[in-house]
C-alpha cells in the first residue's frame, strides 16, 4: 500500500486527540487516583495503596452488586443472543420488505434506557398496566408490581433489558446471516439435516467472528448496567437490583465518597478488560484453526 508512516500519523491524529483527551487520559488519571485519597475538593492527597479497593470489596452492598451483575450477565447475554439469533434466522432469506422488518424490530432498542424504565414502571403498575389488563381478561386478580418484590425485581429487570437488546442483536446478526450462500443451507436441507444441525454446522462457523464481537459488546453493556435500573428499580428493593455501576455512581456523586466510587468503577473496567482478553484470544484461535 501507499500509506507512509506520515500518512498514518495524519490519519490517526484526530481520533487520537479525541480519545486521549476524553477517554484514555481521564481513565488513567482515575486509575492512579484510586491508589490515593484524592477527591476533587479534598485538601490533602495521601497514597493509600489498595485501601480504596479493600473498602469497596468489603462493602456488602458492592458484594450484592457483583452478585446481581453476575446473574444479570449470565442470564441476559445468552438470552439476548438466542432470541436475537432466532429472529435473524427467520429473516435470513429475502422476504418482502426485509429492510423494514429489520428496522421495525429495532424500535425497542431506540427507546433510551431511561425512557424504558419510565415505561415499564407504568406498564407494571396495577391501575393502567398491561399485565393486570391481561390478567383481568383472564378473570384473575391483579398482582402487585413485580419490581417491588425482592425476589422478582432482578428477573424482571433482566427481562426488560432482554426485550430492549435482543432486537439489536438481530439487527447486528442479519447482515452476516443473510450473506451465507443459499446453496449451503440447501445442501444441508437436502442431506436431511434437522434445523439445529443446519444452525450449528452452517451458520455458526461463518458467523463466529461476528458472534464474538456481538458477545463482547453485550458483556460490556451488561457489566455497565446503570440507567436501565436507575428509574425502574433504583437498585431496590433493598439491594436486590443494585449494580456495580449504580453503586459507583452513588458513591462518587451521591455521598461524595470519591475514592470508593472511582475504585469500584475501575473494578468494572477490569471485568470488561478481562472479557476483552478472552475475546481477543477467541478471535485468534478461530483464525488459526
Amino acid at each position: 500500500m501507499r500509506l507512509t508512516r506520515r500518512d498514518r500519523l495524519v490519519l490517526f491524529a484526530p481520533v487520537a486527540v479525541l480519545l486521549t483527551g476524553w477517554f484514555v487520559l481521564p481513565a488513567l488519571i482515575g486509575l492512579f487516583a484510586t491508589f490515593t485519597t484524592y477527591a476533587p475538593f479534598g485538601a490533602t492527597i495521601r497514597f493509600s495503596g489498595l485501601g480504596n479497593y479493600a473498602t469497596v470489596l468489603q462493602d456488602r452492598e458492592f458484594g450484592a452488586a457483583v452478585r446481581n451483575i453476575a446473574v444479570f450477565t449470565i442470564v441476559a447475554v445468552p438470552l439476548e443472543l438466542g432470541i436475537g439469533f432466532a429472529l435473524a434466522y427467520l429473516l435470513r432469506r429475502p422476504i418482502r420488505g426485509r429492510g423494514m422488518w429489520r428496522v421495525l424490530l429495532l424500535v425497542p432498542w431506540l427507546v433510551s434506557p431511561i425512557a424504558n424504565g419510565v415505561m415499564w414502571h407504568f406498564l407494571f403498575a396495577s391501575a393502567t398496566g398491561v399485565i393486570d389488563f391481561v390478567l383481568g381478561w383472564l378473570g384473575r386478580p391483579d398482582i402487585p408490581s413485580p419490581i417491588g418484590n425482592a425476589g422478582l425485581a432482578l428477573p424482571v429487570t433482566i427481562a426488560v433489558e432482554v426485550w430492549r437488546i435482543a432486537p439489536f442483536v438481530t439487527f447486528l446478526l442479519l447482515p452476516g446471516l443473510s450473506s451465507i450462500p443459499t446453496e449451503r443451507w440447501e445442501d444441508a436441507t437436502l442431506n436431511g439435516a434437522p434445523w439445529i444441525r443446519r444452525v450449528l454446522d452452517v451458520a455458526l462457523p461463518s458467523l463466529r467472528p461476528l458472534l464474538l464481537a456481538i458477545t463482547m459488546l453485550l458483556i460490556g453493556l451488561s457489566l455497565g448496567t446503570f440507567d436501565g435500573v436507575l428509574i425502574l428499580t433504583g437498585g431496590g428493593p433493598g439491594t436486590s437490583t443494585v449494580t456495580p455501576a449504580l453503586y459507583s455512581y452513588r458513591r462518587a456523586f451521591g455521598v461524595n465518597d470519591w475514592p470508593a466510587g472511582a475504585a469500584s468503577a475501575w473494578l468494572i473496567a477490569a471485568g470488561v478488560f478481562g472479557a476483552g482478553l478472552v475475546y481477543i484470544r477467541a478471535v485468534r484461535t478461530g483464525r488459526s484453526a
Partner: protein
C-alpha cells in the same frame, strides 16, 4: 426439486407467522404507551378491564406544562447528538481507513482493541472525566458534552468503519495514487463516495447512541445543558407522581425523532454491519 420448493413455501408461511408474532410481542409495550399518550388508557378496575378516555393530543401539550423547558431540551438533544455523531464519524473515518489500508505489527490487535474499548461502560471513566472537565472549565458547556459523547462512541465507529472499508476494493484508490493524488484527495474523492452508504449508516447509529446517553450528560452538566434522558431521569427522581399519559407522551416524543430517522433511512441501514464474514 419440487420437494424442496414446497418445503420452502411452507417455510415461508411459517416464517411470516412467527415474525408477525415476534414483532407484536416486541412492539406491544410501545403500542400500549402510544395509546396512553393519545388518551386511551386501560382501566383495570372493572371486570373485564375496559378502556378509558377518548383520543386527544392534549397530553403532548401537558408535557410542556409539566416540564416547561422540554422543547428546549428536545432541541439540545437533537443538536448535540447530531454534532457528536458528525464529529465521531469525521474523526473515526481517517483512522479506520488507515487501519484498513496498512499492515503493521498488531494492526488486528488494535482493531479488536477498539471493540473492547467500545464495550467499556462509560461508568468506568466518567468519574475522573467529570473532575478533569471541571478543571478545564468545560463542565455544563455544549462543547464539553459533544466532545465527550463523540469520544465515547468513536471506538465503535472505528471498528464498524474499518469493517466497511476493508470490504472496499482498492482499485480506484490505486489509480488515483498513480495519478498523483494526495491523501486527502484520495479519501475525499474516492473513499468517501464509495463508502457513503456505510458512513451514513454508521452516523445514524451513532446518533441514536448519543441521543440515548444518560451518564455522560449526567456527570458533565449542572442544569444548563439538558438532554431528554437527563430531563426524564430528573423528573422521575424528584416528582414521581407524574401522570402516566403525560409520561407516555414525553416518551413517545423522545422516540419519534430516532424512529423516523431509522425508518426513512432503512435502506441505508442495510449497510450497517459489525463485520461481514468472508465467504470462502
Amino acid at each position: 426439486m419440487s420437494g424442496l420448493q414446497s418445503q420452502r413455501r411452507r417455510d415461508g408461511a411459517t416464517r411470516a407467522i412467527l415474525l408477525t408474532a415476534a414483532l407484536a410481542v416486541f412492539l406491544l409495550p410501545l403500542v400500549w404507551t402510544a395509546l396512553a399518550a393519545l388518551g386511551l388508557r386501560a382501566n383495570n378496575n372493572t371486570r373485564p378491564p375496559s378502556w378509558l378516555g377518548s383520543p386527544t393530543l392534549d397530553h403532548f401539550r401537558d408535557v410542556g406544562i409539566a416540564e416547561p423547558s422540554f422543547w428546549q431540551e428536545l432541541a439540545t438533544s437533537t443538536v448535540s447528538a447530531a454534532c457528536a455523531a458528525a464529529l465521531t464519524v469525521a474523526a473515526s473515518l481517517p483512522a479506520a481507513y488507515g487501519l484498513a489500508r496498512s499492515h503493521f505489527r498488531g494492526d488486528r490487535l488494535l482493531t479488536q482493541g477498539f471493540l473492547v474499548l467500545a464495550s467499556l461502560p462509560a461508568m468506568a471513566y466518567v468519574i475522573p472525566l467529570s473532575d478533569l472537565m471541571r478543571r478545564a472549565q468545560l463542565v455544563d458547556t455544549f462543547a464539553g458534552v459533544v466532545l465527550t459523547e463523540a469520544a465515547v462512541t468513536a471506538p465503535l465507529a472505528i471498528y464498524v468503519l474499518h469493517g466497511a472499508l476493508s470490504q472496499l476494493s482498492s482499485e480506484w484508490e490505486e489509480a488515483a495514487w498513480l495519478d498523483g493524488a494526495g491523501l486527502l484527495r484520495v479519501i475525499g474523492q474516492i473513499v468517501v463516495p464509495l463508502a457513503a452508504p456505510s458512513i451514513a449508516a454508521t452516523a445514524i447509529i451513532m446518533f441514536v447512541l448519543d441521543w440515548n446517553l444518560l451518564l455522560v450528560p449526567l456527570v458533565l452538566t449542572a442544569g444548563e445543558i439538558k438532554t431528554i434522558p437527563l430531563a426524564m431521569s430528573d423528573f422521575f427522581t424528584f416528582e414521581r407522581e407524574l401522570e402516566w399519559p403525560t409520561a407516555a407522551a414525553a416518551l413517545i416524543i423522545s422516540l419519534v425523532p430516532v424512529a423516523v430517522l431509522v425508518m426513512v433511512f432503512h435502506r441505508v441501514l442495510d449497510r450497517f454491519a459489525l463485520n461481514v464474514p468472508r465467504v470462502d
